[in-house]
């Protein structure tokens, strides 16, 4: 059962990350990058590593996505 969950989450991560870099607009790319961070947190939880999951949830999804969203605001929406 554990192996099946790990396989499914990895496949979802690969699909979401590939979709994140072929988007045309920058805003969609940033939101899909947040999905990569979320899948990473789920995988760290399955691997029984609570400290790393907490750190990735706060820093990877919270602060890293904020940095990219601020870049989007200052740069304007281009292609």
């Amino acid at each position: 059962m554990t192996g099946l969950i790990i396989l499914g989450t990895f496949m979802g991560l690969i699909i979401v990350s590939f979709a994140a870099i072929v988007q045309k607009k920058l805003a969609d790319s940033i939101i899909l990058f947040m999905g990569v961070g979320l899948g990473s947190v789920v995988l760290f939880f399955i691997f029984k590593a609570p400290d790393v999951a907490l750190t990735e949830a706060v820093i990877g999804v919270g602060i890293s996505s904020l940095i990219f969203l601020m870049a989007l605001k200052h740069l304007g929406e281009q292609k």
Binding site: P50, D51, L54, T55, V58, I59, G62, I63, L66, I67, M70, H74
Partner: protein, 235 residues
């Protein structure tokens, strides 16, 4: 029309190097299938039952590898310095818009709860998953919530400078006191009894250092967030 447009040389050479990386990792994996991966982790866990705190990862980060944490704090400080150099703005001209009434009321209700949760994660870092880095960034996200929803709120510059200086200097001072008392930099000079594992006051200097790390990381991340949001447009 040059030749460079017909053959994408950069992309092809990049993929060739990646293929080399794939073969290296595959060969490492195929040699380690019969469970030959061993680190010093098992010996460290046995040492933790006689000398550390309840959370084994906290003991490794703060006590067994405390010097690396000092280097990581230095890297964070240099990054914050660079961001402040590029993006700092001193004008009173504010580009934030006036926000909704619902957002203002809800953020005033949520801010003390987020601060309390961040302090709890920071102080109980040696008994449950958490610690200085996680608690500091949670506090910075509380400050971010207030920065977004209120037009005239900003954290004063002198407060952040005072907190950061105090935390950075006291980390090195604790290490030097350990050097004086025990001949080991960052040695454990406070009483740490093994019968107190699981209580709040256990482990000697380990909770103290993690609280100092949390204060420093929290104030630095608040400064980074404030520099990214507040900006003047001189167009």
């Amino acid at each position: 029309m040059s030749l460079k447009r017909e053959i994408p040389t950069t992309t092809l050479s990049g993929f060739a190097l990646s293929g080399l990386l794939v073969l290296t990792i595959l060969s490492i994996l195929l040699q380690n299938i019969p469970n030959k991966i061993q680190t010093a982790g098992n010996a460290l866990l046995k040492l933790n039952t006689t000398e550390g705190v309840a959370n084994a990862v906290t003991t490794v980060v703060v006590y067994f590898r405390g010097f690396d944490t000092l280097g990581e704090i230095a890297v964070l400080f240099i990054a914050s310095l660079g961001i402040g150099l590029m993006l700092h703005s001193n004008t009173k001209c504010n580009i934030k818009a006036e926000s909704n009434f619902m957002l203002q009321t809800a953020s005033r209700l949520l801010f003390p709860i987020i601060m309390l949760f961040g302090t709890y994660v920071m102080i109980y870092g040696h008994l449950s998953p958490g610690g200085g880095f996680q608690g500091g960034v949670i506090i910075a996200s509380g400050v971010l919530l207030l920065l977004i929803s209120h037009k005239a709120f900003e954290v004063p510059h002198s407060v952040i400078v005072a907190l950061e200086t105090f935390a950075g200097v006291s980390y090195v001072l604790i290490g030097l006191i350990g050097l004086l008392v025990l001949d080991v930099f960052l040695g454990n000079f406070l009483p740490h009894d093994i019968s107190q594992m699981g209580l709040l006051l256990s482990g000697g200097i380990i909770p103290l250092i993690y609280i100092i790390v949390g204060i420093k990381v929290g104030s630095e991340m608040s400064m980074i967030v404030q520099n990214l949001i507040k900006r003047d447009y001189d167009v």
